[in-house]
Assembly symmetry: C2
């Protein structure tokens, strides 16, 4: 006689449940959302500053800025022309789905095509907390050094696109692009990568094209 074996379904943790709710809300309103993560100073805010005005004629953009303190980043996003909401984490080292839920409530999602969520500057903790965004994007930067994929594998493994910022500094720092890319390829084979410089504008077009394409594609799926 076969014994019945009880099967316990995987229960989503509280954060994952809320992340799923956030996703539903975004999809209902046709908002495509990305979770932008990076070390402090890699250039998340600079990338937003360069992205917003270049896409403003085609897409309605909103930015949710997570920071431990200050609204410096949200101020910069707003100055660049985005609808901006600031989340002060009050010391927390990452955003979570609750914080994004509260931020989404501040936005008129019907008036948004693309939402960029700027996470807290941290290469470790944000990787463990789903927000409900559609894609995660990591901003690396050349002066951080070429060993970062090897040292922060969790972050490099969990993203769907990688921006390599500050390529204008390549002549001035020891950074072996081959070694860096080899580490990325090991952790995240075929990862879509955008080497660029927010300062000079070099390489921005490929990033913008991808963002445009992904936004339109996702919106098509949910309309």
């Amino acid at each position: 006689m076969n014994q019945r074996i009880p099967v316990v379904e995987k229960i989503l943790n509280a954060n994952d449940r809320l992340a799923a709710e956030n996703r539903r809300l975004l999809d209902e309103h046709g908002v495509f959302a990305i979770n932008l993560m990076a070390s402090p100073g890699a250039g998340k805010t600079s990338l937003i500053e360069q992205t917003v005005p270049r896409l403003a004629a085609e897409l309605r953009l909103a930015v949710v800025d997570g920071d431990i303190a200050t609204s410096l980043d949200a101020d910069r996003a707003a100055a660049a022309g985005a609808i901006a909401v600031q989340i002060n984490t009050g010391g927390d080292c990452h955003l979570d789905a609750v914080m994004l839920q509260q931020a989404l409530a501040q936005l008129d999602l019907r008036a948004v095509d693309l939402l960029i969520v700027e996470n807290v500057g941290n290469l470790v903790c944000p990787a463990s907390f789903a927000l409900g965004t559609h894609l995660s994007v990591l901003v690396a930067s050349v002066p951080e050094g070429d060993d970062k994929p090897y040292k922060y594998p969790g972050m490099y493994r969990g993203v769907e696109a990688l921006v390599i910022n500050k390529i204008d500094l390549l002549p001035y720092v020891p950074f072996r692009m081959d070694y860096f890319r080899q580490g990325v390829e090991l952790l995240n084979p075929g990862l879509r990568t955008f080497p660029l410089s927010c300062r000079t504008g070099e390489g921005l077009e490929a990033w913008l094209d991808w963002l445009r394409g992904e936004t339109r594609r996702r919106q098509g799926e949910h309309r």
Copy 2:
């Protein structure tokens, strides 16, 4: 009649207790220890590489390297001539006093004058966990940007010295030293600061002098 009011002493949490034990152990052996913290890629390991050979004739150095994965940093510290112990945090975003306790057990502390503990690259979490070291040192770096004190106040507030690394990149990045220092001064008035470049060697002497002096002074106190 006066009522007797019970007074409950502040009880140290588990981490703080262990940190106090680590401190006692270090003091017993005349070891001066610093906790080196920074963003990923600010140059903690580079600073260790530059420091170790320059002090090797005068001080016996050991390095404890905290990393999420790999022993890349400990390998570099050992190659520079230090006794090196690697802590793999297994994903954790900071070192804590237990991890340091385990690392100290791997060292012959009688043969160490100066111990440098290289924390996980993270501007948030390490600030909340005492290790038992004598001083905390933050390594900032010019390409991270001049807004970092304002955005990571907890870290800037809690350290006893600040290294500003990669000053050789000042001509190539937008970094207002005045604005940066103003933020530091607000959070941590009079903080001892060492602008330097691990790449060119500029400014290293002041840092080395301070480290020599602090080590000798602390050892004098405990002998």
